[in-house]
Every structure is written in C-alpha cells, then in structure tokens.
Amino acid sequence: MEKLKFERPVISKINAGVPDKFGMRTFINPVTQIDGIPVKDIIDQYGSPVYVISEKTLRSVYQEALHAFTTRYPKVQFAWSYKTNYLNAVCRIYHQEGSWAEVVSGFEYNKAIDNGVPGNKIIFNGPDKSAGDLKKAIENGSLIHIDHFDELYDCIQVAKDAGKKAKIAIRVNMDTGIYPQWDRFGCNYENGEAWDAINKIMPDESLELTGLHTHIGTYIMTPAAYAVATSKLAQLAVRIEKKYSHHIRYIDLGGGFASKNTLKGAYLPGTDTCPSFDDYAEAITGALNNSDIEYGHMPALFLETGRALIDDAGYLLGTVLANKRLANGRRSLIIDIGVNLLFTSFWYEHNIAPAQYHQNDYEDTTIYGPLCMNIDVIRAAIMFPSLNKGDHVVISRIGAYNMTQWLQFITYRPRVVLINMKGEVEVIREQETNETMNMLDVVPKHLKRS
C-alpha cells in the first residue's frame, strides 16, 4: 500500500446553517486529467508551467457555435480572430473547420497567409493598416474593413495605384443600449457618419462595398444588444439597396460573445450567467430574418468570435512553489504561474483547481505568482484546500488572449502543448531559451569583450 500523504492540520470555523453567498459550502473538484491525459504526466514531460490546448474541445465548441447559427440562418461564416490566439496550430485547426481569418495588423495578415488562408478569405480589421498592408490586401482580394476616413482615402489611393478594385466594408459603431459604447472604432451610426462613409464609397469606381461590420464591445452579457446592432446594420443595408440598388454580400457582427469565465465583481459565476451560443444566435438571426432586406438578397452572416470559441479549450498547468502565512494570518499560496502568463487574471476570477485529490477543508487563500512584483496576484481571495510544495494546479478556461498577450518577463515563456484528437500530446510551441531571448539583442561593439 502506498504511503498516505501527509496533510497539514487546518483549524476552520464551523458555520453550520449559515450559507455563504454561493450556498452552504465550497467544493473544488480536482482536475486530475485533461482529455484523459493525467496532468502530472504532462508536467513531468513538458515542465511547469505549461499551456495545454484540447483540440477536441476546440473543434466541438466551434461546431456547437456554427450549429447554433446555421440551423437558424442559411449563410453563416466564422472568421477566426487571430489576436485571440494566433498559435499556428490553433489557427490551422479553425481553418480546417472552415473558419476564415480575421486579422488586425500586417503581422497577423502575413501569419494568416502563411497558415494557408487564401487572400479572399481574410478579413482585415483594425485602425492600423499601412499603405503596404492595404496594397497587399487589395491585390489578394481580401475584405478590408475601413475604420476611419483617413484609411478610406488611403484605400482609394492604393486601389487606384494598383489598378484593382478593393473589396471593402465599413466598420460601424452604434448605441446598442450597453455601456460602455465603443465609439473609437469605425464610423458612428446615429450621427450619420456611417451613411456619410457609404456615400463616399458607393460612387467610387475603385471600391466595392461588400459588407457592413460592427463590433459592439467585449464580453457582452446581453444578447439583445446584438439584435439591436443587427437591426441597425440591416437598416443601413436596406438604405444602400434603395439608394444604390446594391446588395451587400455580408453583415459582420464582429465578436464580443462572453465565455463562461467569471468577471471580477460578478455576483454569480459565469457558467450560470453567460449567454449560450444559442442565445446570441437567436438574437442575431432573429433580427436579420425580420429585417427589411430583400428576401432574395439576404447577406451572409459573418462572425469574428474569438474568446467564446477558444476559452474552454485552454488550460494552464502549474506547480505550488510555497505556502506562506501573511502577517495578518491570512494564508497564501505561491505558484509558478504569474500574471505575465495569465493576463486575463486582471479581469477574471479564474477557475483554479488542484490537480490531485485533496482534503475537503478550505481556507481563504491568496494565490500569488512567482514574479518578484507586488501585482503578481492570480486570485486575491479564494476558498482553497491546502496544498504542499510540488503539488500541481490547473487553471482552466484560459484559451483566449493569454497566448497572445503574454509577457516575456523575468523568465522564459513556457511550452504550449496540444492534446490532439487521438489523445496524443504534441508540442505546438517550444519553451523560450536563452538563445531565443538573445537572438534579437544587438550588443554594440564597444561593449563586446574581445
């Protein structure tokens, strides 16, 4: 028989009969394995910390989202939001599933091309597109979403120089009844700026208005806001039909669907409060189906969902570095995952679970990262069982943004592994090394020792 594990005694207050705000008691299920692979094995083989992406979850969530829309509307196209996670393997999985690419910079654009996305299946968003980027996009027949007038003028110029018609859409911002109203991107709907832009685009020979785009915000918990946005874009489409007899090819509702994470300050957990794909789909397709757009010319529906598609598929595995009592008697846990690897910890109460079975006693704990920085707090307060040094923890739902917004700080960024459909673990990004770090450094001659 294996030797029983030593567990530290814990003194906890009995509060029988008085439920806390989540009910009677806290219980954290340990996450011992991901897609059937023991967490311990992954860490043993690939080090700690390590990012894990489940291909199975990735694909099934994508199918779920697609299904929610295609069963309500015949022409639906997702475009993978590169900034959410542009690991090549991840992008290619989405492209394999039929997703296009949505990029917001020349860098992302090139990445999409390198991932084998045909130019005409790339949506080019964002406020920063250089003349060179625009030229490339026009030549490839990509869909350029115009953010502001200066960009529109650039686009006209570049298209004329290239002698090719640019396929463009305009990004529209609008009041959909939510706060904050994102008005820094695109042209405003209510004050007529968007219509103004359309009136500049339509007569121009070098441009073809293919779509209308909006992105009303992020982590939108109210599907109704999408219905408002859809109706407003549809009204624009109808105006274009009336004035120019031009039928736009697609309406792009952007992203912003919430994943199931819990926002800081939220009263109830995200799993209970965040809308499902069906809720969003119902709102958007309902508004589109009920719009005044000519029946025979219903536009395709484009979605640039990022977060809600990938969050569930990502895990961050780490190891306990130390247990510590703070001066005020509060318990704290130091793990090897810092905020530089978990950028989203600034706005989510991340779901952290031990990777092994543990005693059922929980103590209010602060979880710190390994950085030598005061702000490196993963969870400020969580009812957590006591773990020993060397025990493993799993942070789930971290697929979105963390692998793009991560910071190389103090130490190397870790490996990213993929558990593929066959249940095999494959490295999809190697750990940084001293060489990678030094590769771009240039030491001036006078500082070199000869």
């Binding site: 099934s60 199918q63 779920e64 299904h67 295609t70 069963t71 309500r72 509307y73 015949p74 022409k75 196209q77 045909p118 005409n120 299946k121 027949g141 293919t210 090819r249 697609y250 069906d278 119902e282 397709t285 189906n289 029946y295 395709a300």
Partner: protein, 740 residues
C-alpha cells in the same frame, strides 16, 4: 425610330420567308412532313404530268396569297397546312381535265374553296383538337367533280392515255426508257402495287413515281417509311384472308389509304410505340372494310372515295383516344407537333424521363440548413395507413445526437425553436398556435397535431406543418405566404415526445386529413462523402437533407432575361470569330436563345434551383449546339463535387448514320444513349464567390459503350458565363465572352 424601322424590315423579311416555306411545305405536308428535300422530291414528281404540276403550283400559290391576304396565322400557312389540300385538288383537276385557260380559272376557284373549307374545318375540328387531314381536298374535289358534268368546256384529259408523249416532251428518249424499264421490272407484284399506291396519292399511276416517293419518305422518316410498309402489307394480308386481291386496280388506287393511316396513327399523331404499331395492324382491316362499303355507296354518285376511309378512321381513332381516363405513355398523343415521327419520338422519350414532374408544384423542405429525417414515409411510429406519406425532421449534431446536455428539456434539442419556413407559395388556411409544448417524453393525445399551419398551394394540394412551438406562429388564416418565408418555430406540441417538425402534403384543408404521396422538387442529400442532388424525390428515414442554397454568382449568370444579348468570341487555335445570340420569349412564355446567324434556337427553363435546356432546334454545326450541350442542366447552388446527370434527346446529339438504324427500331428497342454529366468543380469562395468552374461532359453511347465524348469547362464570374472551353478528341475550342 431606327428601331421601329429595323423591326419593320425584319418582319417583312420574316413574312417573305414564311411565305416561301409555305409553298414548299405544301408539297411535303401531303405526307405529314416539312422536310425540304422530301418536298422537293414531291414537287418534281408532280411535274411528271407537266400540266398537273403547273396547276398544282398555281393552286398552292393561290392559297398562299389568299391566306396572307385574309391574314390567317402565318405559322400555319408556313407549315403548308392550307396549301397541301389545294395542291391535291389541283393535281386531281389537272390530271382529269384538259389543260386550258378555262381550267386555269377553275383551279384558282378550287384552291380558294379548298382554303375556305380548310379554315372552316380547322375551326370545327380544332375545337376537338383534331386535324382536318385531307377532308378539304375530298370535299372540294367532289364539288368540282360533280359540277364538271355540267361544264362541257372542261374536256376530259387524254393525257393519261398518252403518257409517253408527255414524258418525251419533258425528258426525251432517256426518260421514256427509264420509265419503261421501271414499269417493266419484274418485282413481286405486291411491291409494285405499293409503289403505285404511293404515286396514286399524287393522282399518278406508275412505279417510277412510287419509287421516288418511297425514297423521299425514307429520307424524311424511317419510322414513316416502316409504317407505310406495315400499313400496306397488313391490308395486303387482310385482302388475301378475305379472298380478294389488292393487286386489282380498284383496290390499288385507294391503296394509299392504308399507307397514310399507318403513318398517321402509327407515328405522326401518336408517339411511335409498340402499341401504336399494333393499332395500325388493327385499324387497317377496318379501313379496308370502310373503303369497300363506301365504294358501294358512292358508286351511285359516280364519286371516287379517294382518301375518305383514311380520314374517317384516323379522326375517329384520335377522337376516341381523348376519352381515355388516364394518360398512358405507351400510347401517347403528340402534343407538340414537330412534323417528324422521329423528332416526336425522341423528344417524347426525353421528356418522359426528364419532365415527368413538369406539372407538379415545386415543394421545398420547410426549414433552413441541414435536417435529418427521423421518421419517413410509412414510418414505424405514427406514419401509417392513411397518414403514411409524412416526414418527421430533427437536427443532429456532428456526433449524431439530436440534443445537447442530458436532453431533459426541449431547449436541449437542436431543432427546438429553429425557424420553420414555407415549402411552397400559397395561402394559409388553418392555424393553431396556442397548444403548450410538452415536457420531454410526454405526449398530448387530445390535440395530437399540436400547433399547426396548413397552407393551400393548389386544388387538392395542401401542406401541413405540425408540432410547432407554442405562440411562435407569425401568420394568420388568409395570409399569402411565399416559399422560404419564416412562419413559425419548431416545437414540441401535440403528440410529440421530443421536439421535431412534422411535414406532410394532403388533399384537404383539414387538420387530420389523410396524406398524399407528393415528391419534393429539388433538394440536396448530404452524405459523408459528399452531396447528392435529388429531384422530385422523397427523403427516406435517416437522410440528412437541405434545400439548395443558391449561389449568387450562378444565379446571376443564368438569369437570362428576354432581350439580353450574348456575345462570345470563338477561337480554336488559328481562327477567331464572334457569335451573337439573343434571349427571346415566345407566345407560350417559353424562353429561348436565338442564334441570329444560323437561326438555331435553344429553349431553356430556370426554376430557381436549376437552369436547364429543354429543346434544341437547328443545325448541329453551331456554337449554340455546343453551348446547349455544355450547360444542359446546371444547378444554381454550388456544392463541391456535386454531380448531376441527365439524358439528351438522341436526335439532337447522336450521329446521323447511327440514328438511321435506331430510327427503324425506335418504338421497340433503344440501343443509343446520350448522357450529360456536370460537376461543381471549383469555387474560390462559397459566400461571396467571384469565380466558379464547372466541368461537364456530353457522351454518346451505343449499348452502353462510349462512342463519342466532348468535355466542357465552364467558367462563371461576376460578368456571367465568362468562357466555355470545348474539348473534343481532335481539337479544343474556346468561347469567351466578348469584351464590352
């Protein structure tokens, strides 16, 4: 202004063309033909008696001029349908009476009278959709024949007696010798009588004319030629049976009755078939009997019966066929007369296989996207007995499950709350929308159909959508609804243990009505390895199906509007030239592409799911003929690697010589096949495409062995049909849309 002048000029030219084709067709129309070569042959034969020939031509001209002056339908005039009766009358008069200026006048009057009778009979018999055949000739000729007894100025011609004199005047010694040789050849006497019978149609009585006419008949139609022999020999055998001999002059002179009856019944007014041939065999003895009895009657008035027996039998038979209660493809009347038994036969064969459902209302699937059939026709649960022709549809995910989570609540089911659309245009006649949705596993047996919409599409064609979601129906009784319109959400009301959509077609507007077996127009069956195009079929259990989602590029490219002109630049290596076509529409609202240079036309249809050609008329040596072959049937939705097959009418694409052999056998055995296949090959982008490539093939097969093949590569862009590349065994030709 310039346009009006142009139209006027065109009409004038067209009228002249119709006038002259009327003249020539009057000759071949005697044998139900509008074949030019055959007409020329008949024309020549009529001039074997020069005067008769001249009077014949005079009568035809008179008829044509009068018909034009009286402004009769120019298309009927052009087919020679008025002229041929006048021609027969004049030939008869010309042979019987001495040529004179007086006869000239008589012929003009006779032609006029024949025209009047033709038009009158057209009106009378036309009401019964019957042809007037040669009745005008018989009536007019009798009238003049009876009257002539009191016109002494009309001398009886002696030319018939001195045939050699005439022949000598026309062709000299040689012709006389040929004539003699033909009359002297020792052939089986029945064959000789056959030839004489043929020539007797033109009031002649010689083997040479008969042989020439028989050759003409063969050139015109193998089926008609076969039938002429069948008719004649049936009569021959019948006479042998009753102990008479057809070789006797009395009978032979009216031998053509059998020939004409056989052609009319066996292949011209009825699609040639085993049964039509059999009917010829049955009807010919009747013709013989009627001939004998009529002879007995008319001998009193000294009137010959001519083709009266043929007229009586054919008209009677065609008329009684109309009282059949059910259409039979084995003995089908010709509805669109193409003046050729072969053309009628091959078009009919093609039509039967392609447009069996032409008169069906197109009914679509009542939803968006892919749904699966959980219970089909004659299902194991509820689709039984009088309600067996119904479908239950659900939505499955990639793993084949119809719900997510535990499936304990209707919301877990993928189909629940999904849009339900109108399957075919119509009027809402019944709506029930306030029945609660059941919990999973429970059923409401009291209101077993649950929330339901019934739509009227046509007399005795209603569709019913059931088990809809409570309070989700957005239409009310009396609303007009269009195909594809969203009217409700899929629910779980009524006898529905789990959410699904029940769809059926029924003959009555009531909830609970029995069902009818009615096919769905066009849909796509989704299989693991691709797509299958289904037309006028019924989805089976476990089929995953969807409507054809039309592709904007294909839709626009094949949206050919009357008045639109199509211009292509043709290049095949060395030479380059242009073709100009125009899209037109005829009085029957049928659209067609017209090639101005060659006069060829290709009729087409576009039902929203498919663009397809229905008919091609004209020379085979045109680009339009290739175009017709290349785009014979094109889906308007793009589904990667979707292949569609169809058959061409044999007479449009098969080689002529092999068709001749087929013609003889056609009603009994078809060994030729002409197959069309099209494949959705490439699209650059499904949602906003800018380029689509289709590949199609035209194959000729003999006994399923390929004998010829043409491959086509069709490129579609936002400019329409950008190019069609034609690969034959020997060369490659490209049609490219002309630059604007």
């Amino acid at each position: 202004m310039a346009d009006r002048l142009k139209i006027k000029k065109y009409l004038k030219k067209e009228n002249t063309r119709l006038f002259f084709s009327g003249i020539i067709n009057s000759y071949s129309q005697i044998f139900f033909s509008t074949n030019r070569l055959f007409a020329a042959i008949v024309l020549v034969v009529t001039f074997f008696d020069v005067y008769a020939g001249l009077y014949g031509l005079l009568a035809v001209l008179t008829t044509q001029v009068c018909a034009y002056a009286l402004n009769f339908d120019k298309n009927i005039v052009a087919r020679g349908l008025y002229g041929f009766n006048s021609l027969l009358v004049a030939l008869g008069l010309g042979i019987y009476f001495e040529a004179s200026p007086y006869l000239f006048l008589i012929v003009v009057l006779a032609a006029l009278l024949t025209l009047f009778i033709s038009v009158m009979l057209q009106g009378v018999l036309g009401k019964y959709a019957l042809p007037y055949l040669s009745l005008p000739f018989i009536l007019a000729f009798w009238i003049f024949f009876l009257a002539s007894w009191n016109f002494p100025a009309l001398g009886i011609s002696e030319r018939g007696i001195y045939t050699f004199n005439d022949l000598y005047t026309i062709g000299g010694d040689t012709l006389v010798r040929i004539y003699e040789w033909f009359n002297g050849i020792t052939v089986v006497s029945s064959v000789k009588v056959y030839f004489i019978s043929l020539s007797a149609i033109l009031f002649q009585y010689n083997v040479l004319s008969g042989i020439i006419l028989a050759m003409g008949l063969l050139i015109f139609s193998r089926i008609a030629f076969t039938l002429s022999l069948l008719g004649f020999y049936t009569a021959y055998l019948f006479y042998m049976l009753v102990g008479a001999s057809i070789t006797e002059a009395d009978y032979s002179y009216i031998g053509f009755n059998y020939i004409l009856t056989a052609i009319a019944v066996g292949g011209f007014f009825i699609i040639p078939s085993k049964l039509s041939y059999l009917w010829v065999v049955v009807l010919i003895p009747l013709v013989a009997i009627i001939t004998t009895s009529l002879n007995a009657l008319f001998v009193v008035f000294r009137l010959p019966v001519y083709s009266l027996p043929f007229n009586i039998i054919v008209l009677t038979f065609l008329y009684i066929l109309k009282f059949r209660q059910k259409f039979s493809p084995r003995l089908a009347e010709v509805y669109i007369q193409q003046d050729s038994p072969e053309k009628n036969f091959y078009s009919f064969q093609n039509h039967i296989s392609r447009f069996r459902y032409d008169y069906y209302k197109p009914v679509k699937l009542p939803f968006m996207g892919k749904w699966s059939v959980s219970q089909g026709h004659e299902g194991e649960h509820t689709h039984k007995d009088r309600w067996k022709h119904a479908w239950d549809f659900i939505i499955l995910d990639g793993k084949g499950s119809q719900f997510k989570n535990e499936g304990n609540v209707p919301e877990d089911y993928y189909c629940f709350n999904k849009p339900v659309t109108i399957p075919a245009e119509g009027e809402v006649v019944e709506v029930v929308g306030d029945i609660h949705d059941n919990a999973i596993g429970e059923v409401n047996i009291k209101e077993n159909w649950g929330n339901t919409i019934i739509i009227r599409h046509d007399d005795h064609l209603y569709s019913k959508l059931s088990h809809l979601k409570e309070e989700s129906i957005s239409v009310k009784k009396g609303d007009r609804v269009k195909t594809g319109q969203i009217v409700a959400k899929c629910g779980n009301s009524g006898r529905s243990p789990y959410p699904h959509l029940h769809f059926q077609l029924q003959p009555f507007p009531y909830i609970g009505s029995e069902t009818i077996d009615y096919p769905l127009a066009n849909y796509i069956r989704h299989k693991d390895d691709g797509f299958e195009f289904r037309s006028y079929a019924s989805p089976d259990k476990d089929d995953t199906v969807s409507n054809i989602e039309s592709n904007s590029l294909l839709k626009e490219a094949f949206n050919l509007i009357p008045g639109q002109s199509l211009c292509f630049e043709i290049s095949n290596g060395e030479k380059k030239h242009q073709v100009n076509w125009e899209v037109m529409v005829n009085a029957y609202n049928k659209s067609y592409i017209h090639c101005k240079e060659s006069g060829a036309v290709a009729y087409f249809e576009n039902d929203g799911d498919l663009f397809y050609f229905t008919h091609y008329k004209g020379s085979r040596n045109t680009m339009l003929h290739f175009f017709y072959q290349a785009l014979y049937k094109v889906p308007e939705g793009f589904y990667k690697d979707l292949a569609i097959q169809d058959d061409y009418p044999l007479n449009v694409v098969q080689r002529k010589w092999i068709l001749w052999i087929q013609d003889f056998l056609a009603p009994f055995y078809v060994f030729l096949k002409s197959r069309f296949t099209i494949n959705c090959y490439h699209i650059d982008d499904v949602l906003s495409p800018s380029k689509i490539r289709l590949l199609s093939t035209s194959e000729n097969l003999i006994m399923d062995k390929q004998t010829g093949r043409i491959d086509f590569m069709i490129d579609i862009t936002d400019k329409g049909i950008e190019s069609v590349t034609i690969h034959t065994v020997t060369r490659q030709t490209q049609m490219k849309q002309c630059a604007e």
